[in-house]
């Protein structure tokens, strides 16, 4: 560039070391985040993980092909347990997404600054989890190419969606949630994409500079822009908070509006939300612990951040436990024979193993997090989080399968066994999720650079501070 320099280092004598250190600290953040994308060759472990993820994704593609060309009869739910694995997986994935929004919005509103190191990755996780979740109801319709019929649009048949159906609420809630998550994530990304743009431009990598530059929308870091940007961020956080509550509440309405014993209970909305956050944080940790190690991000994603997440796991695990207890108590207190049976059947009926898997993984396993020693050992946390993920999957399975397999009419009583295609599609969504996440980790700023810098003590350095 051919700008003219008229003055260079004007007050040079006053160059105190402190500010040099502060600037070095800012640069270090940029460098530590950017090197993941800038490394000319991807990490071997990353490549290996991507390979495995792609194989899983392949299994999913095959399962979807077989399912769509044959019909949903290939699943094991061609009996009264008609919502078996697919809706379990749907709820599980949606729940996992919730941690991302919680970290980016709720913790932002409550000024938990430790969130800045993980919010970007957690939000990405939200988006990918919502994508995986949407696959299940979409495929369960049997004719996914008619999915657009669910959206209100003028048509030859003069038909409108049926808005009194909770499943319709799902369509609106989940699509709003997905869109909001993407916009929120992207908005947070823009300043960091600008950082990437400028770094690649400085390196002379024109192609990447243009690509990042287009997505950075010409961000200049102007104070006038930051002002509106921060307002917008706050507003989006304020909107995303009730939204995240509403989404899993609406998912819980799918069950709770019915009269089926074990489904119809008013605690479902907050209980589902707590469970969603619980499983989401477990997934954040499952993903971040290995990647943090792999890409040397320990000084950005600090031990104290991991510990805080473990505490959230403990807290939400207890909330879920409280909800289990409340349900049991009211099942007795209500005097409703069907409710009583439903809960006895969960614990002692044919699906007893799933119930006890759920209780032990969701209520007992998190108790380990009382110990600080465990909260600071990544390997143990990783293992415990996998248990929590399993437990939360079982929670949805218990709710769906045990209630449907023992509804009011004994003639409806049945047992659910998954087929290989149920399993294949689930593995496929895991593959999709990990593939997306690994690609994200390599090509997008994985840590919110600008936010991390803004939360550093150096961000308040210099000048006459008490002027205002």
């Amino acid at each position: 560039m051919s700008a003219t320099t008229t003055a260079e280092g004007a007050p040079g004598t006053e160059h105190h070391e402190e500010s040099a250190k502060a600037r070095e600290a800012f640069r270090a953040v940029t460098r530590d985040v950017a090197w993941v994308a800038e490394a000319p060759k991807p990490h071997k472990a990353w490549l290996g993980a991507l390979g495995i993820a792609l194989i899983m994704l392949g299994i999913g593609v095959v399962s979807i092909y077989h399912l769509v060309t044959t019909g949903i009869g290939v699943w094991g739910n061609s009996n009264t347990v008609g919502w078996a694995w697919d809706i379990t997986n749907f709820v599980w994935w949606i729940g996992i997404g919730h941690a991302g929004t919680l970290i980016s919005a709720v913790l932002f509103l409550t000024r938990q600054t430790w969130r800045v190191s993980i919010n970007r990755a957690a939000e990405a996780m939200t988006i990918f989890a919502v994508m995986c979740a949407l696959l299940f109801p979409l495929l369960h319709t049997g004719r996914p190419w008619f999915a657009w019929w669910m959206l209100p649009h003028p048509n030859d048949m003069g038909m409108w969606p049926q808005f009194r159906s909770p499943l319709m609420w799902d369509v609106f809630a989940v699509s709003t949630y997905g869109l909001t998550s993407i916009l929120f994530w992207y908005m947070g990304l823009v300043p960091d994409l600008a950082t990437f743009r400028d770094r690649f431009a400085a390196k002379g990598d024109k192609v990447r500079a243009i690509i990042y530059g287009l997505f950075a929308l010409g961000w200049r870091g102007s104070a006038r822009n930051w002002h509106r940007y921060e307002r917008a961020y706050l507003i989006l956080a304020g909107l995303a908070t009730p939204l995240v509550f509403s989404v899993h509440s609406v998912v819980s309405f799918d069950f709770a509006t019915s009269q089926l014993p074990g489904w119809h209970t008013t605690i479902f909305p907050p209980y589902f939300v707590a469970g969603a956050i619980f499983s989401g944080f477990a997934m954040v940790l499952t993903l971040m612990l290995p990647l943090r190690h792999l890409f040397n991000l320990q000084h950005l994603i600090k031990e104290s951040h991991i510990e805080a997440m473990c505490k959230i796991l403990l807290a939400t695990g207890m909330m879920v436990g409280l909800a289990y207890g409340t349900e049991l108590f009211i099942a007795w207190y209500s005097g409703n024979l069907y409710e009583k049976f439903a809960f006895a059947n969960r614990a002692l009926g044919p699906f007893w193993w799933s119930y006890w898997a759920m209780v032990s993984c969701n209520v007992l396993i998190p108790q380990f997090f009382w110990s600080k020693k465990i909260r600071t050992s990544p390997v143990i946390i990783f293992v415990l989080c996998i248990f929590v993920n399993i437990g939360m999957w079982f929670e949805r399975f218990v709710i769906i399968a045990t209630s449907l397999a023992r509804s009011f009419l004994p003639s409806n009583w049945s047992y659910f066994t998954p087929t290989i295609w149920d399993v294949g599609l689930f593995i496929g969504t895991l593959g999709l999720f990990f593939t997306m996440f690994l690609l994200f980790f390599r090509y997008v700023p994985v840590i919110a650079i600008a936010e991390v810098k803004g939360a550093m003590p150096e961000a308040h350095a210099g000048g006459n501070k008490d002027k205002h």
Partner: protein
């Protein structure tokens, strides 16, 4: 996200002096005056009505409402203390003493509650229908009369009382200790204790909701009830906190330490709980309405039809829609007169919400077409014939119990009104809302 720090302003007046005693005195006077008035009003009132044998029934129903009201004010603030330590909060430190004073009114609250527990134990049967001899013949109730028996109820009441009082007292005492020793480890201890304390707190709070309020209509049940009760309570608690802090500032104390930033955050919490309460209340209503099962909808039947529907609409608009829309703006939370208006408004509607939870169950009669009436317990018969039947006692008992609560709060307003040696104080003093 500011990490700015400030120290206490040199001109700051933060000694409580006689403030607490004055407040207690005023509270006690209000309590004596209004509870006395309520007793006189009841004595001179006509005969028993609405299927009750004793004319004290209205008084006791109002008493349960008033008690729940002052209980929620304290329990909401106890939650704020626990949360403060649990998440290493800092903005509330400057007003922590006031919050502690509200929470430590807990023993007084539970002593006040003996006003309906003792009659219950003595065999008073016109308040909770499950204590009525007829309940034993109702097979919807008979099976749970072991749980809902006056004796067991009273035992649980004692557990709640001891539990909440001990939690509040422990946190306040330790925090006071820090004023003397300046030991930062005390904050650390409280942080560790706050986690199990939160669990005990959650269970007890839900159970109080189930026992004291939900069992007024003993056949009805809702798993979210405890959560909803707590959410509504926190609206009232934060509103009361705003008023109390303002009142103390009006006496010339804390004028430098507490500013619009703190009010903004109190307002934000009040707003958040207004929304949270609406969320739980809607979830409860919508699910029972949608499921349309008689064992659940009967509770709403008496609130959606007849006179009570107007109270329901008033709550929907007044407790949620109106404050929600206006509290969205940051200015309504930062400008003191506006915050005062909404705090008073929400305190009134919090009472109305509790009133709406309890009073539809007051009428125990069924009226037949030929005019014959039969005592059948709460929520029976034609909802069109159920009247709000407002009585001045409803208000006087409430105000009297608020007086009792203020007396309890006054007890806690002693010594330093700022935790002078709390390590998070400098952050709280420099607090700024984004």
């Amino acid at each position: 996200m500011s990490t700015l720090q400030k120290s206490i302003h040199p001109d700051e007046k933060y000694k409580a002096g006689k403030l607490g005693k004055k407040l207690s005195g005023a509270g006690l006077a209000i309590a004596l005056l209004f509870l006395g008035l309520s007793i006189i009003l009841t004595l001179v009132s006509g005969t028993a009505n609405s299927g009750h044998e004793s004319k004290w029934s209205r008084f006791f129903h109002a008493y349960v409402i008033g008690w729940s009201y002052i209980f929620t004010l304290s329990v909401g603030m106890l939650w704020l203390i626990l949360l403060h330590y649990l998440v290493r909060g800092r903005w509330i430190t400057a007003i922590k003493r006031i919050i502690e004073a509200m929470a430590t009114a807990m023993p007084i609250v539970f002593i006040a509650g003996l006003g309906f527990i003792i009659p219950l134990l003595a065999g008073y049967k016109d308040l909770y229908y499950w204590a009525h001899p007829d309940a034993a013949h109702d097979h919807h109730l008979a099976f749970k009369l072991g749980w809902l028996s006056p004796e067991f109820f009273a035992i649980r009441y004692v557990i709640y009382g001891v539990g909440f009082s001990a939690l509040a007292a422990y946190f306040a005492k330790k925090s006071r200790q820090q004023d003397e020793t300046g030991d930062p480890k005390i904050s650390e201890t409280l942080r560790i204790v706050s986690a199990p304390a939160m669990i005990v707190y959650s269970v007890l709070t839900c159970m109080v909701g189930f026992d004291v309020l939900m069992s007024i209509a003993p056949k009805w049940f809702s798993t979210i009830y405890g959560v909803s009760f707590w959410g509504s309570g926190c609206v009232g608690a934060f509103a009361a906190l705003a008023l109390l802090v303002l009142g103390i500032q009006r006496t010339g104390r804390l004028t430098h330490s507490v500013n619009a930033e703190h009010y903004h955050d109190i307002g934000k919490w009040m707003f958040a709980f207004t929304f949270f309460w609406a969320y739980t209340a809607f979830s409860q209503f919508m699910l029972q309405w949608y499921g349309n099962m008689p064992e659940e909808t009967h509770w709403y039947k008496y609130r959606m039809f007849g006179e009570w529907q107007w109270v329901s609409i008033a709550i929907l608009v007044g407790y949620f829609a109106f404050p929600f829309v206006f509290l969205l703006s940051r200015w309504t939370k930062r400008i003191v007169p506006s915050l005062v208006f909404f705090a008073v408004w929400q305190l009134v509607f919090h009472w109305l919400d509790l009133y709406w939870n309890v009073m539809p169950s007051y009428d125990w009669t069924v009226t037949y077409h030929d005019g014959a009436r039969l005592v059948a317990g709460p929520l029976q018969g034609n909802p069109e014939l159920h009247h709000v039947g407002f009585s001045p006692v409803d208000i006087t008992v409430w105000i009297g119990l608020v007086g009792v609560w203020l007396a309890g709060v006054g007890r806690g307003l002693t010594g330093n009104l700022i935790p002078t040696k709390d390590p998070t104080l400098p952050l709280s003093l420099a607090h700024e809302v984004q």
